[in-house]
């Protein structure tokens, strides 16, 4: 609490919003990638997505291999995945310590997925 109070919660929110917007911009560049949910301004620091080429768990595993940690699966929200007609999604999340360089690394990893499953 002292740590977050020292940063200021408005600054925490602002950084998270900035990272989320940057990530969504970069994700939109990746062909065949689908982002679920509202635009950046209307969401928290999480972005769930799927790729045409590979299953969400395979995407997560390949990202892990280059040091990018994401979650894959239903994220405790199985009904929405059923409604969306997808077996699972991959989900990246951002917080006060996330940098744009890390998001760039995520994007590099997604191109690696495309290369492996091409």
């Amino acid at each position: 609490m002292d740590f977050l109070g020292g940063l200021g919660m408005q600054a925490v929110h602002a950084h998270e919003a900035e990272m989320t917007e940057y990530a969504m911009d970069r994700l939109s560049e990746v062909p065949g990638l689908r982002v679920y949910g509202p635009p950046a301004a209307e969401r928290g620091g999480v972005v769930a997505f799927s790729m045409a080429e590979a299953h969400p768990h395979d995407v997560a595993q390949i990202l892990d291999s280059i040091g990018v940690a994401v979650r894959a699966g239903h994220h405790c929200a199985m009904p929405i995945h059923e409604k969306l007609g997808v077996p699972a999604t991959t989900r990246a999340s951002f917080y006060v310590y996330t940098t744009t360089a890390e998001i760039d690394r995520l994007i590099d990893g997604l191109y690696k997925v495309k290369h492996i499953f091409a």
Partner: protein, 130 residues
Amino acid sequence: MDDLYREQIIDRFKNPRSRGMLDPHDFTYEDDNPLCGDRIRIDVRVDADNRVTAAAFSGQGCAIAQASADLLTEFVVGKTLDEVKQISKDDILEMLGIELGPVRLKCALLSLKVLKAGVYGIDQLEVDLI
């Protein structure tokens, strides 16, 4: 970790040898890993000696789950149901040729779980008939 996506696994995922359904079949079973969304169905035909003459899988899942199901359904053809019951986790890992952490192990072993449930189901039926 790139070893996980060795050529064999990607090849099996993209070009499965035994994907499909068998109609008719002697037994079938389907199950899933609810937390990750993998779902596999396996259909099997056996002859009068309870030896597998054909096996096929269907369903959806990650590359590890699909490659494992494809390798397993090919592996069991020609084996008796008693031999199928002896197939172990290590046999699957040997077929895949990779080492897996606990989370992905569930993907790799789903097809074996499905197959064994099917095999034990048919045995149960025989017991009931005796």
